[in-house]
């Protein structure tokens, strides 16, 4: 059946809080793609042409959807963090896993204050023996550009160009969870100073990456300053000011922010009203009450999510349809909603369940005129 809007128009309408022809559907497909496309996970991480082809094959096998979230945003951590990688430390088809350990020491906040983001990252990459990955990291924009070129031909948007992290969230990757949580109590001033020292550079590097990719959306990932980990007060003190700076800087030049917010943000939702209206899409992973998010933020930013991993793995297509219908009717009401998986579709999801999510949006997601 011919649809009234193209995927590009549909996603754009939802992001700008308008009412599309139907609810757009955009599963976060990363490590499930090699399984569906029949390629090695190791090749999916390391070979761009395999990544992009696997995404296309997966898209076609699932019957098509409205937006491509670049898996490079997720596989990037294979090059920037200490990780166990398939084809190197693990069998070819195993799932990549990041090792949570203290790579950055407490004194390194001073390094960040003195030398900024690049100085800090080069030092940390050197420590994990990943210095040679610098080219790969700097080439992220080009890798996403290659993906975008494929999808431009099919008129399907690519969800984001480059990543920009609130500094404390970036520190968390390298400090380990336990240490960053202690730092947030004991080294508050250092975090604030280091965040100030890095923010301008973080924004300008992210913009360059978005521009190289040719995608005017910045990926802003966050988890450790959610209410799963810290108090709303601490979020307000150590995360929100820089989140605002990032979002405002991009909004000013007409770029959108994709807030990939894992864990529970329930107590922080009100704060997000301080970001400019329609400047962001809030992507939730199932741990934040998305229905509450709609009530608090529905007139302010697009909401995206959140079919849980558990349902993809253990549920039936009927279960998926039931949950998606609830999302469509409640979170989708009045537009400003993109139906998606809660974070990544799990690697062992039942294929019929992913299809059920996509089909529910197509069959039952239409807005009445």
């Amino acid at each position: 059946m011919e649809e009234a809007m193209s995927p590009n128009e549909r996603v754009e309408a939802a992001r700008s809080l308008k009412v599309p022809d139907r609810v757009p559907v955009s599963p976060l497909i990363d490590f499930v793609a090699p399984r569906i496309a029949g390629v090695k996970t190791s090749d999916f991480i390391f070979k761009d042409e395999v990544t992009n082809k696997a995404i296309e094959t997966t898209f076609d096998k699932l019957g098509g959807y409205d937006e491509i979230i670049p898996p490079q945003m997720i596989t990037l951590s294979a090059f920037t963090l200490r990780a166990k990688l398939p084809g190197r430390d693990l069998p070819d088809d195993a799932l990549m896993q990041v090792v949570d350990e203290e790579i950055m020491k407490v004194d390194d906040y001073d390094l960040a204050i003195k030398k900024g983001l690049t100085g800090l990252l080069l030092e940390l990459l050197g420590r994990i023996g990943a210095g040679q990955n610098a080219t790969r990291i700097l080439g992220l924009g080009n890798a996403i550009k290659n993906l975008r070129v494929i999808w431009d031909r099919r008129n399907v948007p690519v969800a984001c160009g480059g990543p920009c992290f609130v500094p404390v969230e970036l520190f968390a990757f390298y400090r380990s969870v336990q240490k960053i949580l202690l730092d947030m109590h004991r080294n508050t001033d250092k975090i604030v100073k280091a965040s100030d020292a890095m923010i301008g550079e973080s924004i300008s590097i992210a913009k360059s990456t978005c521009d190289a990719a040719g995608v005017k959306t910045v990926f802003i990932g966050a988890t450790r300053t959610s209410s799963t980990f810290v108090s709303p007060k601490m979020f307000e003190q150590l995360s929100l000011p820089w989140l605002k700076r990032i979002v405002e800087a991009f909004h000013k030049i007409g770029y959108h922010g994709l807030l990939h917010f894992d864990c529970n943000w329930g107590l922080n939702l009100e704060y997000l009203r301080q970001l400019p209206k329609a400047s962001c899409t809030l992507e939730l992973d199932g741990q934040t009450d998305i229905f509450k998010a709609k009530k608090i933020l529905g007139d302010h930013m697009c909401i995206m999510g959140d079919v849980p991993a558990t349902l993809f793995r253990l549920g039936t297509p009927k279960d998926i349809e039931k949950y998606c219908l609830k999302l469509i009717s409640e979170v989708g009401e009045g537009g400003g909603f993109i139906l998606s998986s809660g974070c990544s579709v799990p690697v062992d999801a039942k294929i019929e369940n992913i299809k059920a999510m996509i089909e529910t949006a197509k069959k039952h997601g239409a807005y009445k005129k």
Binding site: V99, Q178, L181, M184, S227, V230, T310, L314, P346
Partner: protein, 207 residues
Amino acid sequence: MEGLVNAIGDLDEETAARLVKEMLNKGEDPLKIVELCRKGLEVVGQRYEAMEYFLSQLVLAADIFQKIVETITPKMKQRKAEIRGKVVLGTVQGDIHDMGKNLVAILLRLNGFEVYDLGVDVSAKAFVDKVKATGARIVGLSGLLTIAWDSMKKTVEEFKNAGLRERVRIMIGGGTINDSVTKYVGADAYGKTTVEAVRLATGWGGK
């Protein structure tokens, strides 16, 4: 005495450290100090449950307590606090996420359990072997990824095959775990939070 309980409860490290020093100088029994700290940690746990405190405050409280224990250990001589029970803990095979597991280990120890932490990517057999070796009655299986569920299920099966399933209580935990996963795995219960895991273990006793 109340001062130390309050200082820990309020996460006031300086006051807590000063009070411990004063008590030691006065010749106070180190085990009494540990007991007061535990009471303070109970306050922290209550505030966490009331959502006045968050995970970062639990981690901070645990760190404050550990530092106090380090200070008083040399004075403890051969005496040991009473053990509530033994717990074998680990992240199951195929998964290396250990943040939740580590926190549970810390909190269990603070609450008087002897914890055998097997680390990450732990095989079903290793869990069973450790239970056989230690006589532990509680097993905690951790995992963040959905692929961990099958390893958890396999570990539960391994206990059945070893004839130990009736002897141990098995709890699971991790970001994706809920009731349906617990049923799928065949575990006895799941802890949604680290504090809940401790409550489960305390309820089971584990002796």
